[in-house]
């Protein structure tokens, strides 16, 4: 496959004895957007954690390749160089991304500084604006505890995108947002990623968001990728029974009672 940025090869991983990922095969091209859809506990977040090299997850077999290099067991310095600048991450719980008591500005400055980037207020407010956070200057002077979960979530997306990663990993980033905000944020995030040719690997149970942003969708169930294909094909001509069930369970406007 051309320009494959991230490649997951037959990955099996476990928490302790419990296998959570089973023989996962997935390649993501430069600038491509792939969504992992499944229920909670299906393993979609674990797949992100495996790419990030989170310590409590043990890789039993298989590999993770980034830009052709095996990063499955990368640690220390090599891992630090990858995370942030190359592979960005927005966790599900936005409160976990920030110190609740420090102003955003100080925290985002620190994050940028530690990756050797300079703080450019124009650039920062522009990105906040794109994520529908108006009055960016004022927001940057606020502290996370003063903001709603949804605003914190968008701040976390902004700070990840400011590092200009080549691929952004997102875990359920819209679950704290209401539909209107989710639709806007998703649209803007999609445009931002397209402009910058940032690849996107997003775990979600929201098929509507995947429909809007994904080039391809992978359906995860019980640690296995049960179906993987182009977004349109998955949504309009699913092959697996489980995918069909998922699609049927999504409420649709104007479909009667």
């Amino acid at each position: 496959m051309k320009g494959e940025l991230l490649k997951i090869e037959h990955l099996t991983a476990s928490y302790g004895e419990e296998p959570v990922l089973k023989d996962i095969l997935l390649g993501i091209g430069e600038g491509e957007s792939v969504f992992l859809v499944g229920e909670s506990g299906s393993g979609k977040s674990s797949l992100l954690r495996a790419v990030l090299g989170m310590e409590n997850l043990t890789v039993v077999s298989g590999r993770v390749l980034y830009d052709g290099k095996d990063i499955t067991a990368a640690g220390g310095k090599q891992r630090r160089e990858l995370l942030g600048r190359e592979i960005g991450f927005v966790p599900q719980n936005p409160a976990g991304s920030f110190n609740p008591l420090r102003r955003y500005e100080a925290q985002i400055r620190d994050i940028m500084g530690s990756h050797g980037l300079t703080w450019d207020p124009e650039e920062v407010t522009e990105i906040l604006e794109k994520l529908d956070l108006k009055e960016g200057k004022k927001l940057l002077r606020m502290r996370p505890y003063e903001m709603s979960g949804g605003m914190n979530q968008r701040m976390a997306i902004a700070s990840a995108m400011l590092l200009k990663p080549r691929i952004l990993l997102c875990d359920e980033v819209t679950s704290a947002l209401d539909t209107t905000t989710a639709a806007r944020v998703v649209k803007e995030l999609g445009m931002l990623c397209t402009q910058r040719k940032t690849a996107l690997l997003m775990a979600t149970h929201h098929l509507g968001i995947a429909a809007r942003l994904a080039d391809r969708i992978g359906i995860i169930k019980d640690g296995r990728m049960t179906e993987l294909g182009d977004t349109d094909r998955i949504l309009t001509a699913p092959r697996e029974v489980y995918t069909k069930q998922l699609l049927m369970d999504v409420p649709r406007l104007g479909r009667g009672r």
Partner: protein
């Protein structure tokens, strides 16, 4: 029966105002909100975060006290801000079901505590009632010995519905009760609400920001913004021919995330 109260009206709010005084600035959370709910009906309340929809539910069930306005249930006016009194008619179901239960208690303990005293006869009577409600809410008896953390999100939400019905109340006030759940679990809980409405005549106020869910479940819908009701009516009519610009905007956002039809 109160004057003007329709025969099958089980819950009614009249000109409810509610303000919060925080840091010397006053927020108008509810501005002259009126509504009615008929027996066996599901009334949807839609709006974005901050629209006042949750505050309305909390005020109706007495968790908050309205500044002015009246709430009627079962043909009587309810004392303002008295959740215990309102509890004989209605029970609130929250988004975070786990937080609704004591984490250190088994489900059996949590459930029996909330039973209407007159309905828990000595001996096996209360147990039978619990078992039949578990059955009606799609749960099994073995779950009674578990603590909330050992239940799935869907099971825990069903438990909170079962517990609400155990009190003898036949009105449920549901605040985003499916938004923390997976698509499939959400669909099963939605089916449960419809079944309770059809088979037991349960009446429901359903707060949600998900218009697709509302279109699937609700007989009528009320659109709220900044503490005020913008429009109200038959769900299909409101969603097909919205009168307010704001409803149009909500619909546009919902359509953005709408899935194509499976071929």
């Amino acid at each position: 029966m109160q004057e003007g109260m329709q025969e099958n009206c089980v819950l009614r709010g009249e000109n409810i105002y509610k303000t919060y005084d925080r840091d010397s600035s006053i927020t108008e959370a509810l501005k002259n909100v009126s509504f009615y709910l008929q027996k066996g009906e599901i009334l949807g309340i839609a709006g974005e975060s901050g629209s006042g929809k949750s505050t309305l539910l909390r005020t109706v069930c007495g968790l908050e006290k309205a500044d002015t306005g009246k709430i009627f249930a079962g043909g009587e006016e309810l004392p303002a801000g008295d959740a215990r009194y309102a509890g004989r008619y209605m029970q609130m179901i929250f988004q975070d079901a786990y937080a609704s239960f004591d984490p250190g208690r088994t489900m059996r303990k949590s459930l029996t505590e909330f039973m209407a005293p007159e309905k828990s006869s000595p001996g096996g009577g209360s147990n039978e009632r619990i078992l039949s409600l578990l059955y009606e809410t799609g749960l099994t008896a073995d779950l009674l010995d578990r603590h909330p953390a050992a239940l799935s999100g869907g099971q825990c939400q069903r438990m909170s519905i079962a517990r609400a019905l155990l009190t003898g109340a036949d009105i449920l006030l549901c605040d985003e009760i499916t938004s923390a759940l997976d698509v499939s679990t959400q669909a099963r809980v939605a089916e449960l609400l419809l079944r309770l409405k059809r088979q037991k005549g349960i009446s429901i106020l359903l707060v949600s920001h998900d218009l697709a869910l509302i279109s699937q479940l609700c007989d009528r819908v009320m659109i709220m913004k900044d503490g005020a009701v913008l429009e109200e009516g038959n769900t299909r009519e409101v969603l097909e021919r919205p009168r307010s610009q704001y409803t149009n905007e909500l619909l546009a956002a919902a359509r953005e995330l709408e899935l194509p039809e499976v071929k």
